[in-house]
Structure formats: C-alpha cells, structure tokens
C-alpha cells in the first residue's frame, strides 16, 4: 500500500526522518530557525529513547558524543551561531571516529546575524569546521521530502563510515511546509546511491567490558607517529567516501549553454528561473549538488568548451570555490550571490543569465 502524504515543515521532516532511522538519542539547545526540530524530538522520541534539552550547544554536542560512544544513533540540531559552538565537539567526534548526525538550519551571520535564511556556513560545513584535518559528510536537501529522506540516509552513512554527517539546510527549508511521503528510506537523488538501512555492528562501543577487552573511545594520540597514523586512517576513509558518496541532481545539462550551480533553497529558485527560460527557448540547465562534501565532480563535463557556469548562493562566493576546483579553469564561471537574509530571486537570475549570454 502506498502511504498517503502528510503536510509538514522541513524541520519536522528532519526530526521524523531521524526517528524513522532509529535515532534514539537527541540533545539540543533552542535557537531559531530550527526550534521545530527540538520540539518534535521532545514530543515524538520513543519511550526507550532519550531526549535532553542541554544547558548549551557545547553540552548538547558532547552528549551526542557520549551517546554515540555508547553505541546508539544520536543527533543534535542547531543554527549557525549554535553550530559554531558545537565545533569543538564535532572535531572530537571526527577524531574519535564516532558516527553522529548534526543538523544546521542556517541563518544569517557573522555574529548573531539575523534569523533570515542564508547559506553562509558552507565553508564551515564543508572544510571540517573545527580544528584538525577532518571532514563531515554534508548533505543539502532541496525539498521537505528530501530533508526527510536524507536525514534517514545520514544515519546509515554515519554508521557505515564512522563519521559525523551534517544536514545543511536554511531557514526557508526548515520552516516551509510541503507534502511528504513517510516511506522508509529511499534517497530520491541520483538513484543508485542507496545504502541498506541496517545498524552496523558497533563492536567498539562502550557497553561494559563483559566478555571482551575494554573499549576506549578517544582522539588523543601522544606517542610519536600515532596521531599521523590515526589521521591517515581518516584520510583513507575520506578517499572512499569521495569515490562512493557523491550525490547530485542534473537538469537539462546535456544541451545547456549556461549551467546554473546551486544547492538547497537556492536550487529551487534556480529551477523556477530555468522553467521560465526554457519555455522561452533558452538553453539553461542546473547542477544541484546534494552532497556538498564530497563535492560532486562527475556532473562537470570539462570537454564542453561552450558551456558557462553561473554559481548561485545565499552567500558571497563559498561554493563558488568548489566549482572552480571542479572546473579547473577550463570553463568560464560567473557568480551571483546575496547574503544576510537577501535571496536572489528568479528575475535577478534571468537578468544575470542575459548579461552572461551577451558576453562572448
């Protein structure tokens, strides 16, 4: 039987996706615009699970560290200033090879910024964010349905690779309501990347040492060479993830002269602009990265010398750097971005494309 769709917000979809994926520990601290997640988890966490409203973001992320070390699926959520506070714990989680899911529903920054939607934490999310040589897998949903699906997927990826996974959304995605089919795991982006929803055997978890040698969860490696060895293990893991976990959506890229590159909410606005332009006969396409780390390399066809890219962001040229790295200077790249609550609208995109097309 096909389940009916229900109307929920992006934030609620993330929370429901987490519960569907077997998340049994949530700790968080209130911050706008993601408060629906903490409220939903408080209400819907199953009886055997644990919900804690922590005294700070620092405490919340360190509780997630503890819960994950204890072997259960654990999540926290916050928004930009709160995510900055969590960076300490995220670095420790990465260093200790613990799985965890961290949700960032971005708002304007720097500093206290505002509560309007933004994408300006891209660098922080995709470059690690805290101290040390590490990465998170970063997934950027573009719809409420995808927020639900990718949250489920993020728990599987976290367990499979023993890595923290970040769901990176923005205030619009978090607050917006859309119909969602509450099916059990089925990533709707680029088809073949599904991961079986199985709990991986966590023989490293802290459960008491009955019948085995003690387990130690740590990120401290003092002996000469030990840290380098541990970091190389991380890097080998990242290499596998780079190869296997690229996710993206392509729209009209085969014949496009101008290809927009945008993720999350920005990609939705780009799609609206594209549908207007296509009906006017303009050959415009879209690459929508769904995994921001690893950043998708495959959709960039470097052999097509006639194509130009237009990178669109609710930030000032952050993802732009990854597009430049993917394109390696072989094709032209233009940029349109706004920040601090400003969101490029369809007309601005259309105007920008006209200017680009007129340039030789």
């Amino acid at each position: 039987m096909v389940k009916a769709k229900i109307l929920i917000s992006g934030n609620e979809a993330i929370a429901q996706g987490a519960i569907q994926a077997g998340c049994s520990f949530y700790a968080g601290y209130p911050i706008t615009p993601q408060n629906e997640i903490i409220a939903y988890m408080a209400k819907q966490m199953p009886k055997k699970g644990v919900f804690i409203q922590a005294e700070s973001e620092l405490a919340a992320i360190n509780m997630v560290y503890g819960a994950s070390a204890a072997g259960v699926r654990a999540m926290t959520s916050s928004s930009s200033p709160g995510i900055s506070l969590k960076q300490e714990g995220i670095s420790y989680i990465a260093g200790a090879r613990l799985p965890a899911v961290i949700v960032n529903i971005m708002r304007g920054g720097p500093g206290l910024g505002n509560i309007a939607p933004a994408q300006s934490d891209y660098f922080q999310a995709t470059r690690g964010g805290g101290h040390g040589d590490y990465h998170l897998i970063v997934l950027a949903p573009g719809s409420v349905q995808e927020a639900y699906d990718l949250t489920q997927l993020s728990f599987d990826l976290a367990d499979k690779y023993r890595i923290p996974v970040m769901i990176l959304g923005d205030g619009i995605l978090g607050q917006m309501m859309e119909p969602v089919r509450l099916s059990v795991l089925g990533s709707r982006c680029s088809g073949k990347h599904q991961v079986p929803s199985t709990q991986h055997l966590k023989d490293w978890a802290l459960t008491g040492c009955k019948g085995r040698k003690p387990n130690i969860v740590k990120s401290f490696f003092l002996r000469e060479g030990a840290l380098e060895e541990a970091n190389l293990k991380l890097q080998r893991n990242y290499e596998i993830i780079r190869k296997k976990e690229e996710r993206f959506e392509c729209l009209f890229t085969s014949d496009a002269k101008v290809i927009l590159v945008a993720y999350g909410t920005m990609a939705r606005i780009a799609k609206s602009a594209i549908s207007q332009l296509r009906s006017a006969g303009k050959k415009v396409g879209l690459i929508r990265p769904v995994s921001l780390w690893p950043f998708p390399q495959k959709p960039f066809n470097l052999k097509n010398k006639n194509v130009k890219y237009l990178v669109l962001e609710m930030s000032y040229g952050q993802m732009l750097e990854d597009v430049k790295l993917a394109v390696c200077g072989r094709q032209r790249i233009e940029f349109l971005g706004r920040s601090g609550g400003g969101v490029p609208n369809e007309q601005q995109i259309i105007d920008k494309i006209r200017i680009i097309s007129e340039k030789s």
Binding site: G71, V72, G208, S219
Partner: protein
Amino acid sequence: MEKTFKRCQSLYDVPTHYCPGCGHGIAHRLVAEVVDELKIREKTIGIAPVGCAVVAYDYWNFDCSEAAHGRALAVATAIKRVHPQNIVFTYQGDGDLAAIGTNETIHAANRGENLSVVFINNAVYGMTGGQLAPTTLLGQKTSTSIEGREKKAHGFPLKISEMLALLPGVCYIERVSLESPVEVLKAKRAIKQAFENQINNLGFSLVEILSPCPTYWGLTPKESLDWIRDVMRKEFPLGRIK
C-alpha cells in the same frame, strides 16, 4: 605465606607517567579497588578528563571514554542515560570540573544525573605547567599568578563542592584528602559511597579529593602532604558536605 596485598584487577600492570609524589596514582588505585570490591568492573564506564589524567584508560582495565576539556559530565550524562544499568563515573581535575566545565558540572548535578564524580583538587593546572586554577589558594604562587593569588586580580578559591551541595539533585558530596594513610582510607570509603549511591539509583554523588602536586607546588612529596594538612585544608575543610 598468605598474600595480603595484591594488584587490583581493574588496574593494568604498567608504570604510570605521573611525577614523584603525585596524587593521581593513589586516586586511580582507590577507584580501581572500589570497582573490584563492588564487582562492577565489567559494567563500569569511566570518563577520563583533559589534564594530567587524560590517559587514565591506559591504567584502568575497564571501558573508558575521553571527553573534551570540561565536558566529561555531558558525555557521562549521555552514556548513563543510554545504558542505565552500567556504572558511569567521571574523573576530573579542578580546571576541568570547576573552570572550563562549570556549566556542564552544575547542570548535570542539577538534573540529578545518577553519576559518580571523582574530583581531584590540587589547586593548580598540572599538565599545562602550573597555572592558576579556580581552586588555587590566596597567596599561592603559580606561573600565571607569580606574586601569589590575589583576590582583586584573580578572585577567590572556588568552593564548587559547597555550591553543588545547594542543588536538590545532588545526593552526596564529601571532601577527602590524600595527605596520610588514614585520610587515604577515608577517601576510599567516600569513593565507595559515591559508587554505591549510583548502584542504588540515588542521584549525583561527588567526592572532592585534595591531592598533592609537588612539581607545581615547588615542594617535595613529603612537604606537599604537610601543605595539604596545614594549609589547603583550612581553605577546603574535609568531611561530608552533603
């Protein structure tokens, strides 16, 4: 001949890295003896701090986790909530528990988390080279209070145990000392009490241990023990606080 003293099962047979006269070795052993006597080694999970005791898991023979500096009680809260049948304790120094981690400490205590805390108060930051700690005594010289702690510039020694005793979620707090064999035995009894409280689901228990740091007190091991007895105890009186 009867063997009257033996190594605890909860301690590995390895030398420690601690300085001569340091209290950590004694405190580690007391925890290990308590874990052995209560027969809980196979369900104990320890949280090692950041500080001199960061590698406590190299000495304890049971499951352990590190925690970021100050966050041990947040980590312990989660582990205990996930595994209520396990015995979870933190082992933290004064900088960890009463400076950078004050927030986590107070709120874990206020939630009445069913945890045991071993709090090592040596009135100084040991691992980083002897800086002013929240518990440094007035007049005590450290590398960051070179003329001695002065109340106007540095504030007063923080009595976190007395503060925590005000919270309804806290069931037991006692301050003990490692200055003499008699006091060491009392310290062990207090640690045992804190673990038994957890076994009996009574809530948050903390044992503050006045512990020598000869290296950064600039004293010999023997002088350090005397300094606890003659000086430190005046600021931090021993006994049951709650």
